[in-house]
Symmetry: C2
DNA sequence: GCCGGCGGCGCATGTTCATGCGCCTTGGCC
DNA sequence: GGCCAAGGCGCATGAACATGCGCCGCCGGC
């Protein structure tokens, strides 16, 4: 980043958009183009002119999707921020990409000046998002409603592991196998968890533990 | 908002900060000051000069905390955006305020120009956040790990209500009573939910539905 | 030195669940 | 008119769960 400004790589299959972005990045002081590619595969195969600080990644790509690409880029360039740049603003895609490790989610309709601001924000350790995306994130978040009593509760390591397994659909027996303990011990832990969370069933325990961020 | 620009109310106990914000809002074209108050109680008691479009709300206040204030303001001014403006950037506070209904979370160190941008973003339906906050939100979000398949799933109204009841610890019988249907019908709905979410137990269903934001 | 929390194990019993089957109405879509 | 989704109802059975009881060892705090 030092000499040429923020090094940005672009992965975008639409030639016009890609060249537009390339032009913008080359023309803007404080930024430089680390490479422009039409697919995830191409970007992974070819050497970049500089280690990228930020990767602008389209979602809809031929071959490997941008969402899959996130993990690959994060592996290859652990210090780079990956920003999704896409027209898709549906919850499922946002979810998928952020969980895959994307550091931001920007809609394509974003004007160039703002886009550069987002790139700067990413380098500064932020998580740049278009307003619509931020709103969706907050809305999803709000549904969680944790129980304040339970948030304070402290589950032991073993108990936490157990509740996680139960949340993932294990029954007592398979959870016990997973933890290397007997069913009876599982029962014992479950009892203890129920007391701490003030619940009387697996489902309620999972619900409260999830909402309180305990698992 | 039409004549005087975006009407902004300020609730902040520190006099210097409050007056600084008031000055900024009065001096900036496109913005106007709807009122400046030292506490939630004061803001609720006194008539504002205009219905606020945006309320800038400090978190640490004498009397009722800003977090509690969020709900009151949202009740009184349903169309106003409430933006937290605080020095606290810990996860618990961010979580609490957003769940309470805040539309954004801004750190006090934000420069004035950017602050005005955030206010504009709030009016535009966004969820403005300081970069650090956005990053924390995304990190928290990642912990949820929703199943992308499930996010797409559509539960019917009745099914959603049922899963909510199950998450709150009801068994089939009491959930059925709550919904005014028989246990057998509950079973039928549960079956359908299991198919849609690809699960085989109450606990797993609740877990997936919660993570995917379906309930 | 004893208490409380954690971890581990065992047994028993009644309750609840998961899932198989089948059958009916209503309302929308083609 | 036929079809399908949604809602509703019923019965049966084996599996899983909730909760009662009791027992052990280890560790950290007072």
């Amino acid at each position: 980043m030092s000499e040429g400004g923020i090094a940005v790589a672009v992965v975008e299959d639409d030639r016009i958009t890609r060249e537009g972005l390339s032009l913008l990045l080359r023309a803007s002081p404080g930024f430089s183009l680390a490479g422009a590619y039409g697919s995830v595969e191409e970007a992974m195969a070819r050497e970049m002119s500089a280690p990228p600080d930020v990767i602008l990644l389209d979602l809809h790509l031929p071959g490997r999707s941008g969402c899959e690409g996130v993990e690959l880029f994060k592996q290859r360039f652990p210090h780079a921020s990956v920003l999704m740049l896409t027209v898709f603003e549906d919850t499922a895609n946002i979810f998928r990409c952020l969980c895959a490790g994307a550091d931001g989610y920007i809609l394509k309709r974003t004007p160039p000046a703002e886009l550069l601001g987002f790139v700067r924000e990413a380098v500064g350790g932020g998580a740049p998002m278009s307003p619509e995306v931020a709103r969706k994130l907050v809305t999803l978040f709000r549904r969680i409603r944790p129980d304040p009593e339970v948030v304070e509760a402290h589950l032991s390591e073993q108990e936490t592991r157990l509740v996680r397994l139960l949340a993932d659909g294990h029954n007592y027996e398979s959870a016990g196998r997973e933890l290397g303990i007997t069913v009876n011990t599982v029962r014992k832990h479950v009892r203890s968890v129920y007391q701490k969370l003030h619940v009387h069933s697996k489902a309620e325990a999972v619900s409260k533990a999830l909402r309180a961020g305990l698992i």
